[in-house]
Structures are given as C-alpha cells and as structure tokens.
Amino acid sequence: MYTVADLRKGLKITLDGDPYIVIAFDFAKPGKGQALYRTKMRNMINGTILDRTYRSGETFEPASLEDRKMQYLYKEDDHYCFMDNQSYEQIHVDENALGDAKNYLIDNLPVDVLLFKGKAIGVDVPNFVNLRVVQTDPWAKGDTSGSDSKPATVETGYVLRVPPFIEEGELITIDTRTGEYSTRVKG
C-alpha cells in the first residue's frame, strides 16, 4: 500500500484495475490551504493519460506486475527486443510502452521487463546507467566560472545538460530517475 507521500515520477499503481505509471508529479499547497498532490499518470496498457489530484491520507495499491530479469538486445522498427537471462526467451516491447527508458537502452543493458497478465507493458532500467557522449561542443579554455552547462548527445540519441568540462567520447553516468547527468566515469 502506498500513501501520497510515496508519489513520485515512475511509481506504478493500480487504478480501476489497470496498472498506471506516474509520469509527472507536483506538490502544491495554496496559502493556508491543504496539501495537494497533483499527478499525471499513463495507463500502462492503453497509453491513456490521466490527471488526478489527491489529498493527504489517500492510499494506493501498487500495480500488480510481474517483473522478469532480461537484457536489451536490439531495436526493430518500433519494437525493442529483450532476452530472458535464464530461459533465453526473447520478447518484444512496443516503443510507446517504454517511456523514458528508451533513452538508456544500450546493448546488453540489464533491465526488468514488466508483465501484466503475461503481456510486456513496460521496462525498468537501472537507476544509474553509463553512456558515452557522441556529440558536444568543446569547452572554451579560460572559462573558469564552472557555473554553466552545455547540451550533449549520448550514444542512444538522448540529449541532456552536462558540465562544460565533459568532452566527446567520454563516458558519463546518468540518473535515469531524473534523466540528469550524475558524474563522469574515469578511465
């Protein structure tokens, strides 16, 4: 059982029998009024987006999903292919069902494929993933402010803000819960 305090991006809950994933979340409190928890959720089966506002004290059932340890193999058209680490069984997941996870899929990445009544409807990636920077502008020498950031494209095509000292070809760690740069991988 979850409470409103557990609400965050990525949380999966059951609503009217269907599994939903929270895709946006905002804590609001109008002056002297009560705390309100504004959430935007995606139905993991049919993709419908719902806006719901909750008050303190409300509770949620976790989504009843089965997760299987698998690894990412390749992309084919708008499907992504994963393989079960034990049985070697391969399954395909729709691009739409992946959400932000597709930003982090590199060959052999270990993931949890989420199944609802036997059907793959989503993928959980590790909290931290290392990806190589394939494009970013060089750092202007002499800029010691250290307070700026610049865009960088990583090998999956995902674009994010990184510190100015990151160069092309470097490996960086990304926090997949926020989609933000976390640290540089040395070596």
């Binding site: 409190k29 009024g33 506002t53």
Partner: protein
Amino acid sequence: MAKNWPLTRRKEALRGRSTIIQEIRRFFIKEGYLEVDTPLRIPAPAPESHIDAISSGRWFLHTSPELCMKRMLAAGYERIFQICRCWRDGERGIRHLPEFTMLEWYRIDADYRDLMSECEALIRSVIHVLGHGGSIRYQGMDVEINEPWERLSVSEAFIRYSRMTMAEALETDLFDEIMVRDIEPRLGFGKPTFIYDYPAERGALARISKDNPAVAERFELYIGGLELANAFSELTDAQEQRTRFVQESAFRASMNRTTYPLPEKFLDELSDMPPSTGIALGVDRLVMVLLDLSSIDDVVAFTPEEL
C-alpha cells in the same frame, strides 16, 4: 573539477540570493524597522489546520515567527522585521522545502492595504539593485514591476478563472483544488497580482472585514504563478483568537494530526496589541522569481536530499 557539480553550478544563484537578502535588510532599516531574531524552537506553534510542525525534543521548530513577533508588538515594538529559517513537515516539491527562509514584518496602526504598497516598494527596491530596470522575465513571461500591480479579490478571481463562484467552491469543498488548478497558475503574469479578501475561515489569525463579515482582511502576492507572500490585518481580539485556535486544534485532532498546546502567553498578551498588520514572504521563492529559476532547489546551497 569539483565532484559536487550541482553545488558549483549554483554559485551565481547564491550570489544573487545574498544580494537580495542584503537589500531586504537595507530597505527595512531605512524604513525605520528594527531587525529582531526570536527563538526558532518554541513550546507551542500556532494551531493551523494544514501546517505541521517538526518536533524538537518536547518542543517544536517554529513554522513561522508570527506569535513571538506579535508578542513584541503587544509589548510596544512598533515596526519589526525578521529573516529566519522556518520548518513545515512534509512540504517538499519544486516550490517547497521543509526547511525554508521566511521574511516577516509587522507594523502597528496600519492594515493589509498599507502592506500591499510596502510590498511593491520592497520588491521595486530589490530589482533596482539587481539591475533589472522596470520589469523582470520569469520562465519566459514578462512581469512589469514598476507599473501599478493588479489587485483582485478572491471572489473576483473565481468568477474570472473558474466555473464556480467562491461560495460554491466552499460548499462543495473544492476551494483548494480550484485555487491550485485554475486560479494560481494565472496570477501574476504581465504584472504582479495581489489576491485579497479570503473566506473568513481561511485566515485563523486575520481580522474579519468590517464591510463583509464573510471575508477576512488577508491577501497573497503572486508573481509568475508563484505564491510569494501572505498578509493579514491582524486579529487583536484575544477571545476570538482563542476560539479560532480551539477550532483549528479540534480539526487537527479529527484528522489524526499532532495537536499542539495552546500558546497561552501569546493569547494572554494579545489584548495589549494595537491594531496591526503583518506579512510573511518566502525568501527562497522571491529569489527564484528575481533570478528566473524554476525550482526552489536552485536557490539553496543544499536540499535535504543532498545532505
């Protein structure tokens, strides 16, 4: 290069924060206010329905310096201001930190309308020091600071921005939801907005309007959809104040929230307090608006998660 890059990145914002706080101090001292610093750890926070204090031993970290500052008004201090940390349990989001910085100021022989003008003067003086000219840009929208600010009553705001009247929203218990979803996101664009005259039951420490007993003399200031300040013409009737605190405490008990002892010394001294007005302004949020930053995390050195 430093490991803590997010902190390195905030250097410019924290410089701006420091400039803003210095200018706030200079403004109030110039206006004849005395800077005070009342205790942060207190035995009895004001019992308000939806504000939860964090306990500290058998006492509490204050949720606002309001009660101590009003005791000073009652004891003869005429104009006082304070910049201090406040704590509110469970409040965390892109605009909330459970530990945040509040500016409060109080003065006697004035009401909430006088404070609207003083708010305008304060923020104009701060943006002048930041070199913004007469307007600021917040998250892509221009806000004119030097022209007269918008003044809109809460009931007008419901008519303008929602499909229900204020009375209907109260009756159906949807006041907060409509405020957050339909009204707040539209306040303070183009120019800052004062939204005033809240339902009487939504200002536990505010004076009821002489012209309309259904509303309290209370306003909030919004810039770019962000709530910056809350002000009252202060309630000085000690008996009425006690009744309201008892009601708020009963509500807290009915919701299984922590109840606090009644602030007896405050209630006892309140009868000495002259007609007064007071305001609380979120300093972190003011910094967000003036530096054009979207998250409260961007204007503090450390968030709780980073400690």
